[in-house]
Amino acid sequence: MKHVIIGASAAGISAAKTIRKQRTDDEIVIISKDDTVYSRCMLHKYISGERSVQDLSFVPEGFFKNSRIRHLAGVNATGIDTAKKVVFFDGGQELYDKLLIATGAESVYPPIDGLKGAENVRALRDLSDAKIIREKALAADNIVIIGAGLVGLDAAYALVEMGKKPIIVDLAEAILPANLDVRAAAAYKTEFEKAGCVFRLGVRVIGVIRDQNGLVTSVTLDGKEALPCGLLIVAAGVRPAIGFLENSGIACTDSVTVNEYLETSVPDVYAAGDVAGLSRNWPNAVKQGEIAAMNMCGVSTVYDDTFALKNTVNFFGILSLSFGEFVPADGDIEYCRESRGRYEKVILRNGVPVGVIRQGDISYSGFWQYLIKNKINIADIPISVWKLSFADSFGMAENGEYEWTVRA
Protein backbone atom coordinates (compact mmCIF):
# COMPACT_ATOMS: atom_id res chain seq x y z
CA MET A 1 0.00 0.00 0.00
CA LYS A 2 1.27 3.45 -0.90
CA HIS A 3 0.23 6.53 1.08
CA VAL A 4 0.81 10.01 -0.28
CA ILE A 5 0.47 13.00 2.02
CA ILE A 6 0.41 16.56 0.74
CA GLY A 7 1.70 18.88 3.45
CA ALA A 8 4.39 18.52 6.12
CA SER A 9 2.97 20.45 9.04
CA ALA A 10 0.92 19.37 12.07
CA ALA A 11 -1.63 17.15 10.28
CA GLY A 12 0.66 15.75 7.59
CA ILE A 13 3.47 14.75 9.94
CA SER A 14 1.16 13.25 12.56
CA ALA A 15 -0.54 11.23 9.81
CA ALA A 16 2.81 9.94 8.56
CA LYS A 17 3.85 8.91 12.07
CA THR A 18 0.55 7.14 12.61
CA ILE A 19 0.72 5.26 9.31
CA ARG A 20 4.25 4.12 10.08
CA LYS A 21 3.15 2.87 13.49
CA GLN A 22 0.24 0.96 11.94
CA ARG A 23 1.99 -0.36 8.84
CA THR A 24 5.68 -1.20 9.01
CA ASP A 25 6.07 -1.90 5.32
CA ASP A 26 3.71 0.54 3.60
CA GLU A 27 5.26 3.17 1.37
CA ILE A 28 4.85 6.76 2.59
CA VAL A 29 5.53 9.85 0.48
CA ILE A 30 5.15 13.41 1.74
CA ILE A 31 4.93 16.21 -0.79
CA SER A 32 5.37 19.68 0.70
CA LYS A 33 5.83 23.19 -0.56
CA ASP A 34 7.99 23.75 2.52
CA ASP A 35 11.65 22.81 2.19
CA THR A 36 11.91 21.75 5.80
CA VAL A 37 9.63 20.74 8.63
CA TYR A 38 8.96 23.64 10.96
CA SER A 39 6.33 24.74 13.41
CA ARG A 40 4.40 27.75 12.16
CA CYS A 41 3.63 28.66 15.75
CA MET A 42 7.32 29.42 16.25
CA LEU A 43 7.96 31.57 13.20
CA HIS A 44 8.03 34.75 15.30
CA LYS A 45 10.94 33.23 17.20
CA TYR A 46 12.80 32.97 13.92
CA ILE A 47 12.00 36.59 13.03
CA SER A 48 13.30 37.83 16.38
CA GLY A 49 16.48 35.81 15.98
CA GLU A 50 15.74 33.62 19.01
CA ARG A 51 15.67 30.40 16.97
CA SER A 52 17.44 29.13 13.86
CA VAL A 53 15.56 27.31 11.09
CA GLN A 54 16.79 24.04 12.58
CA ASP A 55 15.32 24.95 15.96
CA LEU A 56 11.89 25.45 14.41
CA SER A 57 11.57 21.76 13.62
CA PHE A 58 9.08 19.72 15.60
CA VAL A 59 10.39 16.33 14.48
CA PRO A 60 13.55 14.61 15.68
CA GLU A 61 16.67 14.75 13.55
CA GLY A 62 16.67 12.05 10.88
CA PHE A 63 12.90 11.71 11.11
CA PHE A 64 12.25 10.96 7.43
CA LYS A 65 15.08 8.49 7.09
CA ASN A 66 14.35 6.69 10.33
CA SER A 67 10.63 6.50 9.58
CA ARG A 68 11.31 5.47 5.98
CA ILE A 69 9.33 8.35 4.53
CA ARG A 70 10.20 9.81 1.14
CA HIS A 71 9.97 13.60 1.43
CA LEU A 72 9.54 15.58 -1.78
CA ALA A 73 10.37 18.99 -0.34
CA GLY A 74 9.88 22.41 -1.84
CA VAL A 75 7.34 21.36 -4.46
CA ASN A 76 3.81 22.63 -4.94
CA ALA A 77 1.00 20.16 -5.58
CA THR A 78 -0.81 21.36 -8.68
CA GLY A 79 -3.64 18.89 -9.15
CA ILE A 80 -5.06 15.43 -8.56
CA ASP A 81 -6.46 12.89 -11.01
CA THR A 82 -8.64 10.82 -8.72
CA ALA A 83 -9.57 8.32 -11.44
CA LYS A 84 -5.95 7.42 -12.11
CA LYS A 85 -4.98 8.07 -8.48
CA VAL A 86 -2.17 10.48 -9.32
CA VAL A 87 -1.01 13.66 -7.61
CA PHE A 88 0.67 16.20 -9.87
CA PHE A 89 3.25 18.66 -8.64
CA ASP A 90 5.89 20.97 -10.09
CA GLY A 91 8.16 18.73 -12.08
CA GLY A 92 6.54 15.39 -11.39
CA GLN A 93 3.72 13.15 -10.35
CA GLU A 94 3.15 10.47 -7.76
CA LEU A 95 0.72 7.54 -7.77
CA TYR A 96 -1.18 6.78 -4.58
CA ASP A 97 -3.38 4.13 -3.06
CA LYS A 98 -4.47 6.42 -0.21
CA LEU A 99 -4.08 10.19 -0.31
CA LEU A 100 -4.16 12.75 2.49
CA ILE A 101 -4.65 16.43 1.72
CA ALA A 102 -3.00 18.37 4.55
CA THR A 103 -2.05 21.56 2.78
CA GLY A 104 -3.18 23.78 5.63
CA ALA A 105 -4.19 27.35 5.00
CA GLU A 106 -2.83 30.38 3.20
CA SER A 107 -2.82 34.06 4.05
CA VAL A 108 -5.61 36.33 2.97
CA TYR A 109 -4.76 39.83 1.77
CA PRO A 110 -7.44 42.41 2.43
CA PRO A 111 -8.84 43.91 -0.80
CA ILE A 112 -6.77 47.09 -0.80
CA ASP A 113 -5.41 48.48 -4.07
CA GLY A 114 -1.66 48.23 -4.38
CA LEU A 115 -1.21 45.84 -1.46
CA LYS A 116 -0.33 42.71 -3.37
CA GLY A 117 2.89 42.52 -5.30
CA ALA A 118 4.82 45.16 -3.41
CA GLU A 119 8.17 43.82 -2.28
CA ASN A 120 7.90 45.27 1.21
CA VAL A 121 4.44 43.85 1.89
CA ARG A 122 4.35 40.37 3.33
CA ALA A 123 1.88 38.10 5.06
CA LEU A 124 3.17 35.86 7.84
CA ARG A 125 2.33 32.23 7.33
CA ASP A 126 5.32 30.31 5.99
CA LEU A 127 9.00 30.17 6.83
CA SER A 128 9.68 31.88 3.51
CA ASP A 129 7.56 34.80 4.78
CA ALA A 130 9.39 34.89 8.09
CA LYS A 131 12.77 34.96 6.34
CA ILE A 132 11.79 37.96 4.24
CA ILE A 133 10.15 39.74 7.16
CA ARG A 134 13.26 39.30 9.28
CA GLU A 135 15.56 40.50 6.53
CA LYS A 136 13.45 43.56 5.72
CA ALA A 137 12.67 44.37 9.37
CA LEU A 138 16.36 44.57 10.23
CA ALA A 139 16.63 47.55 7.88
CA ALA A 140 13.14 49.06 8.23
CA ASP A 141 12.22 51.92 10.48
CA ASN A 142 8.49 52.25 10.11
CA ILE A 143 6.78 48.90 10.32
CA VAL A 144 3.02 48.56 10.09
CA ILE A 145 1.11 45.40 10.88
CA ILE A 146 -2.45 44.86 9.65
CA GLY A 147 -4.21 42.59 12.12
CA ALA A 148 -4.15 42.47 15.92
CA GLY A 149 -4.92 38.77 16.20
CA LEU A 150 -2.40 36.19 17.40
CA VAL A 151 -0.33 36.19 14.19
CA GLY A 152 -0.14 39.99 14.04
CA LEU A 153 0.91 40.19 17.67
CA ASP A 154 3.40 37.34 17.23
CA ALA A 155 4.99 39.48 14.55
CA ALA A 156 4.82 42.58 16.76
CA TYR A 157 6.42 40.69 19.65
CA ALA A 158 9.29 39.53 17.45
CA LEU A 159 9.81 43.08 16.23
CA VAL A 160 9.82 44.44 19.78
CA GLU A 161 12.54 41.94 20.59
CA MET A 162 14.49 43.33 17.63
CA GLY A 163 14.16 46.81 19.09
CA LYS A 164 11.44 47.91 16.67
CA LYS A 165 8.24 49.75 17.49
CA PRO A 166 5.57 48.64 15.01
CA ILE A 167 2.17 50.22 14.53
CA ILE A 168 -0.64 47.67 14.62
CA VAL A 169 -3.89 48.44 12.79
CA ASP A 170 -7.11 46.48 13.14
CA LEU A 171 -10.72 46.99 12.23
CA ALA A 172 -11.76 45.43 15.55
CA GLU A 173 -11.77 47.53 18.72
CA ALA A 174 -10.06 44.86 20.83
CA ILE A 175 -6.93 42.85 20.20
CA LEU A 176 -6.85 39.03 20.22
CA PRO A 177 -10.64 38.76 19.77
CA ALA A 178 -10.45 35.06 18.87
CA ASN A 179 -8.30 34.24 21.87
CA LEU A 180 -9.45 36.22 24.89
CA ASP A 181 -12.10 38.54 26.24
CA VAL A 182 -11.56 42.30 26.24
CA ARG A 183 -10.34 42.42 29.83
CA ALA A 184 -7.68 39.72 29.38
CA ALA A 185 -6.58 41.09 26.01
CA ALA A 186 -6.15 44.58 27.51
CA ALA A 187 -3.31 43.30 29.71
CA TYR A 188 -1.33 42.50 26.55
CA LYS A 189 -2.23 45.79 24.90
CA THR A 190 -0.76 47.64 27.85
CA GLU A 191 2.47 45.66 27.66
CA PHE A 192 2.82 46.12 23.89
CA GLU A 193 2.31 49.86 24.37
CA LYS A 194 4.88 49.96 27.16
CA ALA A 195 7.29 48.32 24.71
CA GLY A 196 6.72 51.14 22.25
CA CYS A 197 4.09 49.62 19.95
CA VAL A 198 1.22 51.80 18.83
CA PHE A 199 -2.31 50.52 18.16
CA ARG A 200 -4.80 51.96 15.72
CA LEU A 201 -7.94 50.00 16.57
CA GLY A 202 -11.41 50.27 15.10
CA VAL A 203 -9.74 51.66 12.02
CA ARG A 204 -9.77 50.45 8.43
CA VAL A 205 -6.82 50.58 6.05
CA ILE A 206 -8.22 52.19 2.90
CA GLY A 207 -5.14 52.38 0.75
CA VAL A 208 -1.40 52.37 0.36
CA ILE A 209 0.93 54.74 -1.43
CA ARG A 210 3.73 53.24 -3.50
CA ASP A 211 6.86 54.88 -4.84
CA GLN A 212 8.31 54.61 -8.35
CA ASN A 213 10.02 51.32 -7.38
CA GLY A 214 6.71 49.83 -6.38
CA LEU A 215 7.49 49.88 -2.67
CA VAL A 216 4.81 50.87 -0.21
CA THR A 217 5.86 54.08 1.54
CA SER A 218 2.70 54.91 3.41
CA VAL A 219 -0.51 53.30 4.65
CA THR A 220 -3.71 55.36 4.59
CA LEU A 221 -6.31 54.83 7.32
CA ASP A 222 -9.97 55.74 7.04
CA GLY A 223 -9.54 58.73 9.33
CA LYS A 224 -7.29 59.96 6.51
CA GLU A 225 -4.27 59.46 8.75
CA ALA A 226 -1.22 58.33 6.75
CA LEU A 227 1.28 56.06 8.48
CA PRO A 228 4.82 56.11 7.05
CA CYS A 229 5.70 52.55 6.17
CA GLY A 230 8.94 50.79 5.28
CA LEU A 231 7.59 47.28 5.85
CA LEU A 232 3.96 46.18 5.89
CA ILE A 233 3.08 42.87 7.52
CA VAL A 234 -0.33 41.44 6.70
CA ALA A 235 -1.92 39.28 9.39
CA ALA A 236 -5.53 39.55 8.34
CA GLY A 237 -6.52 35.91 8.46
CA VAL A 238 -6.16 32.72 6.46
CA ARG A 239 -8.24 30.47 4.24
CA PRO A 240 -7.88 26.74 3.54
CA ALA A 241 -5.33 26.04 0.79
CA ILE A 242 -7.62 24.32 -1.74
CA GLY A 243 -6.72 26.17 -4.96
CA PHE A 244 -5.03 23.14 -6.53
CA LEU A 245 -8.17 21.02 -6.09
CA GLU A 246 -10.25 23.12 -8.47
CA ASN A 247 -10.64 20.52 -11.23
CA SER A 248 -10.10 17.44 -9.12
CA GLY A 249 -13.77 16.61 -8.52
CA ILE A 250 -13.09 16.57 -4.78
CA ALA A 251 -15.99 18.41 -3.15
CA CYS A 252 -15.04 21.69 -1.49
CA THR A 253 -16.83 24.66 -0.03
CA ASP A 254 -14.41 27.14 1.52
CA SER A 255 -12.54 24.06 2.66
CA VAL A 256 -12.34 20.40 1.67
CA THR A 257 -15.56 18.65 2.62
CA VAL A 258 -14.98 15.58 4.82
CA ASN A 259 -17.16 13.07 6.62
CA GLU A 260 -16.64 11.87 10.20
CA TYR A 261 -13.85 9.58 9.00
CA LEU A 262 -12.18 12.63 7.44
CA GLU A 263 -12.69 11.10 4.02
CA THR A 264 -13.49 13.48 1.16
CA SER A 265 -16.22 13.00 -1.46
CA VAL A 266 -13.75 10.80 -3.38
CA PRO A 267 -12.90 7.35 -1.99
CA ASP A 268 -9.34 6.89 -0.70
CA VAL A 269 -8.80 10.65 -0.49
CA TYR A 270 -8.75 12.17 2.99
CA ALA A 271 -8.20 15.65 4.41
CA ALA A 272 -6.95 16.84 7.80
CA GLY A 273 -5.88 20.05 9.48
CA ASP A 274 -6.76 23.62 8.50
CA VAL A 275 -7.59 22.58 4.93
CA ALA A 276 -10.55 20.53 6.20
CA GLY A 277 -12.03 23.62 7.82
CA LEU A 278 -12.96 21.90 11.10
CA SER A 279 -10.52 23.78 13.31
CA ARG A 280 -7.64 26.22 13.22
CA ASN A 281 -5.33 25.03 15.93
CA TRP A 282 -2.36 22.74 16.26
CA PRO A 283 -3.74 20.03 18.60
CA ASN A 284 -6.84 19.46 16.49
CA ALA A 285 -4.77 19.29 13.29
CA VAL A 286 -2.52 16.66 14.87
CA LYS A 287 -5.56 14.67 16.03
CA GLN A 288 -7.15 14.86 12.59
CA GLY A 289 -3.92 13.67 11.00
CA GLU A 290 -3.97 10.64 13.30
CA ILE A 291 -7.62 9.84 12.63
CA ALA A 292 -7.30 10.21 8.85
CA ALA A 293 -4.21 7.99 8.95
CA MET A 294 -6.01 5.28 10.91
CA ASN A 295 -8.75 5.23 8.28
CA MET A 296 -6.15 5.22 5.48
CA CYS A 297 -4.73 2.11 7.13
CA GLY A 298 -8.13 0.45 7.16
CA VAL A 299 -8.79 0.93 10.88
CA SER A 300 -12.20 2.59 10.89
CA THR A 301 -11.97 5.56 13.29
CA VAL A 302 -14.38 8.43 13.81
CA TYR A 303 -13.16 11.98 14.42
CA ASP A 304 -15.36 12.88 17.37
CA ASP A 305 -13.08 14.99 19.57
CA THR A 306 -14.00 18.08 17.59
CA PHE A 307 -13.90 20.78 20.27
CA ALA A 308 -11.62 23.51 18.92
CA LEU A 309 -12.33 26.62 21.02
CA LYS A 310 -9.11 26.50 22.98
CA ASN A 311 -6.18 28.88 23.10
CA THR A 312 -3.11 29.89 24.97
CA VAL A 313 -1.33 33.23 24.73
CA ASN A 314 2.12 34.08 26.06
CA PHE A 315 3.63 37.53 25.60
CA PHE A 316 5.82 39.49 28.01
CA GLY A 317 5.71 36.60 30.46
CA ILE A 318 1.94 36.91 30.90
CA LEU A 319 0.34 33.52 30.31
CA SER A 320 -3.31 33.15 29.36
CA LEU A 321 -5.53 30.24 28.53
CA SER A 322 -9.09 30.14 27.26
CA PHE A 323 -11.76 27.59 26.48
CA GLY A 324 -15.11 28.13 24.79
CA GLU A 325 -17.04 31.39 24.90
CA PHE A 326 -15.85 34.68 26.38
CA VAL A 327 -19.08 36.66 26.65
CA PRO A 328 -22.03 35.43 28.72
CA ALA A 329 -25.39 35.08 26.97
CA ASP A 330 -28.69 36.03 28.62
CA GLY A 331 -29.33 33.85 31.62
CA ASP A 332 -25.71 32.68 31.96
CA ILE A 333 -23.91 33.04 35.26
CA GLU A 334 -20.52 34.69 35.05
CA TYR A 335 -17.92 34.28 37.76
CA CYS A 336 -14.93 36.62 37.74
CA ARG A 337 -12.10 37.25 40.12
CA GLU A 338 -8.99 39.35 39.89
CA SER A 339 -5.91 39.83 41.98
CA ARG A 340 -2.51 41.25 41.26
CA GLY A 341 -1.49 39.99 37.83
CA ARG A 342 -4.29 37.46 37.75
CA TYR A 343 -7.68 37.29 36.12
CA GLU A 344 -10.08 34.38 36.00
CA LYS A 345 -13.50 33.92 34.51
CA VAL A 346 -15.95 31.05 34.31
CA ILE A 347 -19.28 31.17 32.45
CA LEU A 348 -21.99 28.66 33.35
CA ARG A 349 -25.10 27.99 31.27
CA ASN A 350 -27.73 26.03 33.18
CA GLY A 351 -24.97 24.62 35.33
CA VAL A 352 -22.77 23.64 32.39
CA PRO A 353 -19.48 25.49 31.90
CA VAL A 354 -19.33 27.09 28.42
CA GLY A 355 -16.34 29.37 28.82
CA VAL A 356 -13.21 29.70 30.95
CA ILE A 357 -10.41 32.26 30.89
CA ARG A 358 -7.36 32.21 33.10
CA GLN A 359 -4.60 34.76 33.00
CA GLY A 360 -1.48 35.12 35.12
CA ASP A 361 -1.66 31.61 36.52
CA ILE A 362 -2.88 28.89 34.18
CA SER A 363 -1.73 25.99 36.35
CA TYR A 364 -3.79 22.80 36.47
CA SER A 365 -6.57 24.22 34.27
CA GLY A 366 -6.68 21.61 31.49
CA PHE A 367 -9.58 19.76 33.11
CA TRP A 368 -11.95 22.61 32.15
CA GLN A 369 -11.67 21.61 28.52
CA TYR A 370 -13.12 18.21 29.31
CA LEU A 371 -16.04 19.70 31.26
CA ILE A 372 -16.84 22.23 28.55
CA LYS A 373 -16.56 19.98 25.54
CA ASN A 374 -18.55 17.19 27.17
CA LYS A 375 -21.16 19.64 28.51
CA ILE A 376 -20.88 18.33 32.04
CA ASN A 377 -23.22 19.88 34.57
CA ILE A 378 -21.22 20.96 37.60
CA ALA A 379 -24.09 22.58 39.49
CA ASP A 380 -24.51 19.50 41.69
CA ILE A 381 -20.87 19.43 42.75
CA PRO A 382 -20.93 21.35 46.04
CA ILE A 383 -17.68 23.23 45.54
CA SER A 384 -16.74 26.73 44.38
CA VAL A 385 -15.81 27.06 40.70
CA TRP A 386 -12.41 28.31 41.87
CA LYS A 387 -11.75 25.08 43.76
CA LEU A 388 -13.12 22.74 41.13
CA SER A 389 -10.70 20.15 39.77
CA PHE A 390 -10.63 16.61 38.43
CA ALA A 391 -11.03 15.40 42.04
CA ASP A 392 -14.82 15.00 42.02
CA SER A 393 -14.60 13.12 38.74
CA PHE A 394 -11.76 10.85 39.77
CA GLY A 395 -11.79 7.30 38.54
CA MET A 396 -9.09 4.88 37.44
CA ALA A 397 -9.22 2.34 34.64
CA GLU A 398 -7.70 -1.12 34.85
CA ASN A 399 -4.58 0.03 33.07
CA GLY A 400 -4.09 2.86 35.54
CA GLU A 401 -5.26 5.64 33.24
CA TYR A 402 -7.66 8.17 34.71
CA GLU A 403 -11.35 7.89 33.96
CA TRP A 404 -13.99 10.55 34.37
CA THR A 405 -16.80 9.37 36.65
CA VAL A 406 -18.88 12.56 36.32
CA ARG A 407 -20.81 12.46 33.06
CA ALA A 408 -23.03 14.75 31.07
Partner: protein, 148 residues
Amino acid sequence: MKRIFIDADKCIGCKNCLVACMQAHKPGTVSVFGLDFIDPALESRNKILLDSRGKCIPLFCRHCDKPGCATACMSGAMVKEPETGYVRYDSDRCAQCFMCVMNCPYGVLKPDRETGTYVVKCDFCADHNSEPSCVKMCPVKAIYVEEV
Protein backbone atom coordinates in the same frame (compact mmCIF):
# COMPACT_ATOMS: atom_id res chain seq x y z
CA MET B 1 5.37 0.26 30.47
CA LYS B 2 5.09 1.13 34.13
CA ARG B 3 2.45 3.42 35.60
CA ILE B 4 1.87 4.88 39.05
CA PHE B 5 -1.41 3.44 40.30
CA ILE B 6 -3.52 5.33 42.79
CA ASP B 7 -5.59 4.02 45.67
CA ALA B 8 -7.27 7.25 46.72
CA ASP B 9 -9.06 5.57 49.64
CA LYS B 10 -5.71 5.03 51.32
CA CYS B 11 -4.36 8.56 50.83
CA ILE B 12 -4.13 10.51 54.10
CA GLY B 13 -2.90 13.73 52.48
CA CYS B 14 0.47 13.74 54.25
CA LYS B 15 2.11 15.17 51.12
CA ASN B 16 5.24 13.08 51.56
CA CYS B 17 4.98 12.41 47.84
CA LEU B 18 5.19 16.12 47.06
CA VAL B 19 8.25 16.60 49.21
CA ALA B 20 9.89 13.52 47.72
CA CYS B 21 9.26 14.88 44.24
CA MET B 22 10.72 18.26 45.14
CA GLN B 23 13.82 16.66 46.55
CA ALA B 24 14.23 14.29 43.61
CA HIS B 25 14.27 17.24 41.23
CA LYS B 26 16.54 19.44 43.29
CA PRO B 27 20.04 18.25 42.49
CA GLY B 28 22.38 18.06 45.43
CA THR B 29 19.81 17.65 48.17
CA VAL B 30 20.21 14.48 50.18
CA SER B 31 17.34 14.92 52.59
CA VAL B 32 14.23 16.95 53.17
CA PHE B 33 16.30 19.26 55.36
CA GLY B 34 18.12 20.44 52.27
CA LEU B 35 14.93 21.93 50.85
CA ASP B 36 14.03 25.59 51.20
CA PHE B 37 10.25 25.53 51.32
CA ILE B 38 9.84 29.22 50.70
CA ASP B 39 11.88 29.05 47.49
CA PRO B 40 9.32 29.58 44.71
CA ALA B 41 11.43 27.44 42.39
CA LEU B 42 10.74 24.44 44.60
CA GLU B 43 7.77 22.72 43.02
CA SER B 44 6.30 19.27 42.97
CA ARG B 45 5.26 17.47 39.81
CA ASN B 46 2.39 15.83 41.61
CA LYS B 47 -0.44 17.21 43.67
CA ILE B 48 -3.08 16.09 46.11
CA LEU B 49 -6.50 17.45 45.27
CA LEU B 50 -9.42 17.71 47.64
CA ASP B 51 -12.83 16.84 46.28
CA SER B 52 -16.03 18.52 47.44
CA ARG B 53 -16.29 16.16 50.41
CA GLY B 54 -12.73 16.89 51.47
CA LYS B 55 -11.43 13.54 50.30
CA CYS B 56 -7.80 13.39 49.16
CA ILE B 57 -7.31 12.58 45.47
CA PRO B 58 -3.67 12.14 44.43
CA LEU B 59 -3.10 13.72 41.01
CA PHE B 60 -0.14 12.17 39.21
CA CYS B 61 0.80 12.24 35.53
CA ARG B 62 -0.53 9.10 33.83
CA HIS B 63 1.99 9.10 30.98
CA CYS B 64 -1.18 8.43 28.99
CA ASP B 65 -1.35 5.95 26.13
CA LYS B 66 -2.68 8.82 24.02
CA PRO B 67 -1.25 11.87 25.76
CA GLY B 68 -3.18 15.08 25.11
CA CYS B 69 -0.13 17.10 26.12
CA ALA B 70 2.04 15.55 23.40
CA THR B 71 -0.71 15.98 20.80
CA ALA B 72 -0.79 19.69 21.61
CA CYS B 73 2.97 20.17 21.55
CA MET B 74 4.02 22.23 18.52
CA SER B 75 7.76 22.17 19.20
CA GLY B 76 8.50 18.46 19.63
CA ALA B 77 9.36 19.01 23.31
CA MET B 78 6.65 16.72 24.71
CA VAL B 79 6.99 13.24 23.27
CA LYS B 80 5.60 9.81 24.09
CA GLU B 81 8.67 7.57 24.07
CA PRO B 82 7.84 4.35 22.25
CA GLU B 83 10.52 2.35 24.09
CA THR B 84 9.58 3.25 27.68
CA GLY B 85 6.03 4.55 27.34
CA TYR B 86 6.97 7.66 29.31
CA VAL B 87 5.88 11.06 28.10
CA ARG B 88 9.16 12.96 28.21
CA TYR B 89 9.54 16.71 28.24
CA ASP B 90 12.58 18.51 26.86
CA SER B 91 12.66 22.06 28.20
CA ASP B 92 15.38 23.04 25.70
CA ARG B 93 13.05 22.34 22.78
CA CYS B 94 10.00 23.86 24.46
CA ALA B 95 8.69 27.08 22.92
CA GLN B 96 6.63 28.08 25.97
CA CYS B 97 3.22 27.99 24.28
CA PHE B 98 1.79 25.91 27.14
CA MET B 99 -0.77 24.22 24.92
CA CYS B 100 0.17 21.06 26.85
CA VAL B 101 -1.27 22.64 30.01
CA MET B 102 -4.41 23.44 28.04
CA ASN B 103 -4.69 19.95 26.58
CA CYS B 104 -4.14 17.74 29.64
CA PRO B 105 -7.69 16.58 30.36
CA TYR B 106 -6.95 16.00 34.04
CA GLY B 107 -5.24 19.32 34.74
CA VAL B 108 -1.96 17.72 35.80
CA LEU B 109 0.41 20.16 34.11
CA LYS B 110 1.47 23.67 35.01
CA PRO B 111 4.08 26.23 33.98
CA ASP B 112 6.84 26.71 36.52
CA ARG B 113 5.92 29.25 39.17
CA GLU B 114 9.11 31.29 39.29
CA THR B 115 9.80 32.01 35.60
CA GLY B 116 6.81 30.72 33.63
CA THR B 117 9.23 29.36 31.05
CA TYR B 118 8.98 25.60 31.35
CA VAL B 119 6.47 22.89 32.17
CA VAL B 120 6.52 21.14 35.54
CA LYS B 121 6.12 17.55 34.41
CA CYS B 122 6.61 14.10 35.94
CA ASP B 123 9.60 12.25 34.47
CA PHE B 124 8.93 9.04 36.42
CA CYS B 125 12.32 9.65 38.09
CA ALA B 126 13.51 7.71 35.04
CA ASP B 127 17.16 8.63 35.59
CA HIS B 128 17.15 7.56 39.26
CA ASN B 129 17.50 3.85 38.63
CA SER B 130 14.70 3.04 41.01
CA GLU B 131 10.97 3.47 41.33
CA PRO B 132 9.63 7.04 41.43
CA SER B 133 10.62 8.98 44.54
CA CYS B 134 6.99 9.78 45.38
CA VAL B 135 6.09 6.09 45.44
CA LYS B 136 9.06 5.24 47.66
CA MET B 137 8.02 7.85 50.20
CA CYS B 138 4.31 7.06 50.43
CA PRO B 139 3.77 5.62 53.93
CA VAL B 140 0.36 4.08 53.20
CA LYS B 141 0.89 2.64 49.70
CA ALA B 142 -1.75 4.92 48.20
CA ILE B 143 0.51 5.11 45.15
CA TYR B 144 2.31 2.10 43.73
CA VAL B 145 3.94 1.14 40.44
CA GLU B 146 2.54 -1.55 38.20
CA GLU B 147 3.44 -2.83 34.78
CA VAL B 148 0.64 -2.20 32.31
